[in-house]
Symmetry: C2
Subunit: 259 residues, 2 copies
């Protein structure tokens, strides 16, 4: 039987709040068994870019990563945030190792193909080095991934952290029973956006299709859920979505997704 | 018999020159056998600090690392430089992995004790995790260390890159025949500072003491050599000092140090 592997993804709502981050990292450290953390960015990169006199480049509401902004996210995600998070986990006796996709070629990507919009140095994932990530896990290491990847041709690429988590989860599901945990600002997928406690506790593929038909799922949630069901179809065992209490054993308000 | 391990340290003179860095990384990638790269900082951190409106803090000519400057060096050394170097090595088919001392607790340090001067978040090395670094080497990984360490209590620390190289070399010499290579702006230790080609090809402990007595060794070179002989006395097999051509097989103008 395969061992269990927990993959937890956190984003800006935790990273931007020092107290919330410290508290989450304690709970994450206490999780037993194999685990991987994936973190997104947060407001620090925007702040640094602004200090450096860079203006955010947007096309049709989408952020464009030019060379100067790529340097900023590499500094903030792979440098400051990744190492601060890793240092705190080490303090909590979790043997964390900060990683980007370039390190030991863990995540290979390619620059997003230009169709209508040139997103600049945005990377779409091609391959995750599950074999080497497993070597780390077997050596009692907890990988901590930021969302920077590379193209094996010397180019770093800015990649969506949700996608990184999902791609790692799919790749590792060859070797482990993978549980993918998305932590975000809500307690889960909501029945009604007005009621923050109206969490739908379980969604399977059939219910997912039904909820879409009924128009229950909000615009912002659709790509997340699409991503999750894609991961489940490719071998991930279970997906949970909720707020930071999700990593605590006592929490029971979150959404579980399965096929 | 122990296997050979090459540890190469590069500093600002290469890092600040894109062409020199690209060329060096090609030569480094071509080096056969086990190897580790250690890199220093360069002018980028000073540039970023200045862009952010931070003034360099100096006491008695020594740079002080306050919290804001620690963030800057963490971003530049552990983020931008470390990942750019690693991406170039990956392009050259060298399976590099960027690391700081915090990652998998590779280099444990403590905040430098305040005597006359409070250096701020400057770290002095306590222990190198040679066992785990060996796991990486045995898995065909080439570690690339920046000079950021931690204290296992959540604090990142700025550490001298020459010292990092030397401490890793000493720790790894339990497992390998270690050759430590310091690459800097000169072709080696010079007989006369005016003649850049007056390289002293070999210095043993006896000659070292004699050169000090004769006042041949320049002020700036003394701590470097002291550091090197210290490493040799603690088990490192050989130290070479010279410019970037040192990593090319055909180079023969450099200084070799041995006991």
């Amino acid at each position: 039987m395969k061992s269990k592997l927990n993959i937890v993804k956190i984003g800006g709502n935790i990273i931007n709040d020092e107290g919330a981050l410290t508290s989450f990292l304690k709970d994450f450290s206490a999780l037993k068994g194999y685990k991987i953390l994936v973190h997104g960015g947060g407001k620090k990169a925007t702040e640094l870019a602004s200090l450096m006199g860079l203006k955010p480049k947007m096309i049709n509401g989408r952020r464009i990563t030019d060379a100067a902004n790529l340097d900023v996210v590499t500094m903030v995600y792979a440098g400051l945030l990744n190492k601060k998070i890793t240092a705190q986990l080490q303090k909590n006796n979790c043997n964390a190792m900060g990683l980007s996709g370039v390190d030991a070629n863990c995540i290979l990507a390619h620059k997003r193909t230009v169709k209508d919009i040139d997103y600049g140095f945005a990377g779409d994932v091609d391959e995750v080095n599950s074999e080497f990530i497993n070597v780390l896990l077997q050596n009692n290491v907890t990988p901590v991934f930021c969302a920077i990847t590379h193209d094996k041709n010397g180019q770093l690429l800015n990649t969506n952290a949700d996608t990184i988590a999902s791609e790692i989860a799919v790749a590792m599901s060859k070797l482990f029973n993978v549980r993918l945990n998305y932590i975000f600002e809500l307690k889960g997928v909501l029945e009604s956006i007005e009621d923050k406690n109206s969490v739908i506790k379980h969604i399977n593929l059939e219910k997912y299709k039904q909820l879409i038909k009924e128009g229950v799922i909000s615009e912002g949630m659709l790509p997340k859920l699409h991503n999750c069901f894609n991961a489940l179809e490719k071998g991930v065992q279970k997906v949970k979505m909720g707020d930071a209490s999700l990593v605590k054993n006592e929490s029971n308000l979150y959404t579980t997704l399965s096929l």
